[in-house]
Amino acid sequence: MHIMEGFLPWQWCVFWYALALPVIAYGVIRIKKVADKHPESKPVLAVVGAFMFVLSSLKLPSVTGSCSHPTGNGLGAVIFGPVVVSVLCVIVLVFQALLLGHGGLTTLGANTFSMGIIGPLAAWLVYKGWQKAGWSILPGIFLAAFFADLLTYATTAIQLSLAFPIPTFDSAILKFMTIYAYTQLPLAVAEGILTVVIFDYIMKLRPDVLETLKVIKPKNEMKTMKEPVKEAI
């Protein structure tokens, strides 16, 4: 979903930077707050960022016959909220822009907007809605990661269609959606599964962190639900 250096007219680069920068700035403040208030959550923040690092480096084949990479942005969004992920995303994108010639510095604003803001926002909204409904956690995590991945790529398609409405916006969006979002479907499913596995680990090893961040319900409630089952076995 990286828009390559030079492939976005400068007016659009400025536009997406203007939208992304306030969110990133707010994200930095949020990270400081979370780290001060819940220092025990810092390692989880590192894991969440590392997850993005790994997933966005893997270019995977899709059944459409193209290759594309997952984003890893759903996990962080569910645990820390979308604005925190925008900061982690900038780190990943700068690494790739400087060392891999992948993405670019002028398109950093646009790429952060898709991978660091819209995707994570989708994950966060899906999971919060799921949580309110009171359904079990892991399927919600799957859906959150699935939509984060897919909407990241859909946003890229929209961004390119806005900049290059050739010949019209409608036909351009069809073209870019086929290139980006369609290829992404099976990969989004795979990303959803991987996110569930790592979330399950974090939930088992550090439920306390997830509880203080209000990602899962406090233990006492969980215990009363869980323990009778254990004893029955």
Binding site: M1, F7, L58, H69, Y180, V189, V197, L205
Partner: protein, 108 residues
């Protein structure tokens, strides 16, 4: 490792590997397995668009590019592995402590 997680990982592997079996024998030359990140720019160039700025630096060859991609994955995997292992050890230690306490109590 949890049985559920092993099944899930196998499922993810199946999703990723199925295209390799499905399109076995086809290569880049037939237009398969190219990156969607590259297809976007390719399409724009075919429409006559020329990039207005070049990357400051890009890997001189595919090998060097792979180096940095692997480095990125390695850094991420290292951090995840470190903390998951560390927490796992902590949890084990805690359980051991509880067991020790219980045996001490029973002995009393």
């Amino acid at each position: 490792m949890d049985k559920k997680n092993i099944i899930l990982l196998c499922l993810a592997a199946a999703i990723i590997l199925s295209p390799l079996i499905l399109y076995n024998g086809l290569t880049e030359e037939e237009g398969y397995f190219t990156g969607s990140d590259g297809q976007g720019p390719e399409y724009l160039e075919s429409q006559g668009y020329e990039p207005w700025i070049e990357p400051i630096w890009s890997p001189p060859s595919g090998e060097v590019e792979v180096l940095f991609f692997s480095l990125q994955a390695a850094i991420g995997a290292l951090i995840i592995g470190y903390f998951v292992g560390y927490y796992n050890g902590l949890a084990k230690g805690r359980r051991q402590d509880e067991m020790d306490k219980k045996t001490v109590k029973q002995a009393k």
